[in-house]
């Protein structure tokens, strides 16, 4: 009787184990599109025999584990913030690009029309209409610089607004991860813990898109997170928020645990937005200010060297600027000149009737007054727009590359999953060898491209 009972127990245990297996398979299929879900596997073990005359106690489920690959996840956590950073940078630069306007109808167009107006005045230096034309185009040029300065400042403020929004999202995700840590700790392992870990993995992935985080598994099975130079973001069930204060200009400054971390955050969308706000856009603003300052200085100097309609020595054409900083926003026509076209110093002599100074002012369009005497004012504008375009396309290309690496890791995981460890290792090695076989040609290809470029450009 006991033998029959034992046999039935073994069969029942085996059925229960297989049922669990089927449940897990069902769970895996049902969650195939669930973000953050890691496939479950049932771990079975033989039940040892009770005595030396028994064949064994059948089979039982010892645990259900998830097939989360820590290495791949770590790699994803490294790539995701880099992708987020480039995406944010590309977003911010696209705003700057549209602020710069189209070629020929922006500052470059204003410059051309301004110098054309001086050429027109040189053809008829006593014409009141031509004098008025110079003032109108001068005003339009100054307004063009003012609007552009506003556009760049506004792009910087947009980036700042995004920084504040991103910090809120980061804090929210940190709180979520901390509370999942608490739930994992309370669950004491098992299926519930796996489910919490899936949710946590997804939250960490979302967080990685926003900021670069370091993750370390803690003793309760949860994850501790740090940002910047090791500042705590989540320790166990506690989340540490990033504090935001405003500096003198109203820009958000970030701190963690009382320490300033703004310059330490380099990855994720937050890192990209901070880089755009604090480095890239200010650099463009400097260039624009340099251009406005050079324009005002050159035109004022030349204008003061001429004589107005009544033969009086010319004054300033633009209101003199004290320094380069803020020059584009401050550029404006001298208020006295703006209301009296007769004060336009078109003449080169005190007769006030010749066109000497108007010609000299028109010639400023060809003067190399920027970048150590290598560029005209129009060249300076072209260099700025080219730089913005290049920076923007580089950020977009970088984002695409990073995205591709992230999807490559996923694809690699797909292609090697579900096989034995030996097969997985062999498959990985085959990929490596196949890549190396291609890479042998890369140096030759590189050299060939260089040589051909040279040949085609010079030939």
């Amino acid at each position: 009787m006991s033998d029959l009972f034992t046999s039935l127990s073994i069969a029942a245990r085996a059925l229960a184990a297989q049922q669990t297996g089927l449940d897990v398979v069902g769970q895996n299929i049902a969650n195939v599109n669930t973000a953050g879900y890691a496939r479950r596997q049932v771990n079975l073990a033989a039940v040892p025999p009770r005595d030396r005359f028994s064949a064994g106690g059948g089979v039982e489920v010892t645990s259900i584990t998830s097939t989360r690959d820590a290495l791949l996840e770590r790699r994803l956590r490294l790539e995701t913030p880099a992708e987020g950073r480039e995406a944010a940078l590309a977003d911010s630069l696209s705003v700057v690009e549209s602020a710069l306007g189209d070629a020929g109808s922006s500052i470059d167009g204003n410059l051309t029309e301004f110098f054309d107006a001086w050429s027109t005045l040189a053809e008829d230096p006593t014409s009141a209409t031509a004098r008025q034309g110079v003032l109108i185009k001068g005003q339009a040029l100054a307004r063009g610089f003012n609007d552009m300065a506003d556009g760049l400042e506004s792009a910087r403020r947009d980036a700042d607004g995004n920084v504040r929004g991103l910090v809120d999202q980061i804090d929210e995700l940190a709180r979520q991860i901390a509370s999942l840590n608490a739930a994992i700790g309370r669950s004491g392992g098992g299926s519930m813990a796996l489910s919490f870990k899936d949710q946590q993995a997804e939250a960490i992935k979302q967080l990685s898109e926003l900021i670069d985080v370091d993750a370390i598994e803690n003793s309760t099975g949860g994850v501790d997170l740090s940002i910047a130079n090791g500042r705590a973001l989540v320790i166990g069930a506690n989340a540490y928020s990033i504090d935001v204060t405003s500096d003198a200009r109203g820009f958000a400054q970030l701190s963690s645990g009382g320490m300033q971390v703004t310059s330490e955050i380099t990855g994720g969308r937050l890192g990209g937005m901070l880089h755009a706000r604090d480095v890239v856009i200010p650099d463009y603003q400097d260039s624009l200010d340099g251009l406005a300052f050079a324009l005002a200085s050159q035109v004022n100097t030349q204008h003061a060297a001429g004589y107005d309609h009544s033969g009086t020595q010319g004054g300033a054409f633009f209101t003199p600027l004290a320094s380069q900083a803020g020059a584009a926003a401050a550029l404006q026509l001298d208020p006295t000149l703006a209301v009296d076209p007769g004060l336009v110093a078109a003449a080169g002599t005190s007769t006030g009737a010749d066109n000497g100074n108007a010609r000299a002012l028109a010639e400023l369009r060809n003067a190399r007054v920027l970048d150590g005497g290598t560029a005209t004012l129009t060249d300076g504008w072209a260099r700025l727009t080219y730089r913005v375009g290049q920076d923007s396309s580089t950020a977009q290309a970088e984002q695409k590359n990073r995205q591709e690496i992230v999807s490559q890791i996923d694809a690699l995981r797909e292609s090697v999953s579900g096989v034995s460890l030996d097969e997985e290792a062999m498959m990985m090695m085959k990929f490596q060898r196949a890549y190396e076989a291609n890479a042998r040609y890369f140096t030759t290809v590189d050299t060939a491209i260089d040589t051909l470029m040279q040949m085609v450009v010079t030939g």
Binding site: L71, R75, M426, Q432, N438, M453, M455
Partner: protein, 120 residues
């Protein structure tokens, strides 16, 4: 004759760019067959590149465009390949079999004394 040279060069550079893009696609999608095939395509593309100068006036812009695209495709291959190598090294290292496979992809069990079955 000069335009014939230009057309040949353009075709060869286009072939090189296409081979690099295929290699990049294979690496991005972790498709082993595609990566293996692209080795042959790369070798073939390099073999037909002209070594001597010629007149390319008619197709200069197109050739320069293809060369720029080829350079960008090469950078992509290198980055994806770098990420792949790093992943493979890390994975094999974690399994204790970093040096356990030869160039033939076959296992050399004795080379992996520290191999440890650590996965449940």
């Amino acid at each position: 004759m000069s335009s014939e040279y230009g057309r040949t060069l353009l075709s060869a550079v286009t072939q090189l760019r296409a081979a690099l893009e295929r290699a990049g696609d294979g690496l991005a999608g972790a498709r082993l067959d595609a990566v293996l095939d692209s080795e042959i395509a790369l070798a073939a593309a390099l073999a037909v590149l002209p070594a001597e100068r010629g007149n390319v006036d008619e197709v200069r812009d197109q050739v320069l465009h293809e060369l720029a695209q080829a350079r960008s495709a090469l950078t992509r291959c290198r980055r994806l390949g770098g990420a792949l190598s790093e992943m493979v090294r890390a994975s094999l290292g974690a399994q204790g079999v970093l040096n356990a496979y030869g160039a033939d992809g076959l296992q050399h069990a004795n080379d992996a004394p520290g191999a440890l079955e650590a996965r449940g």
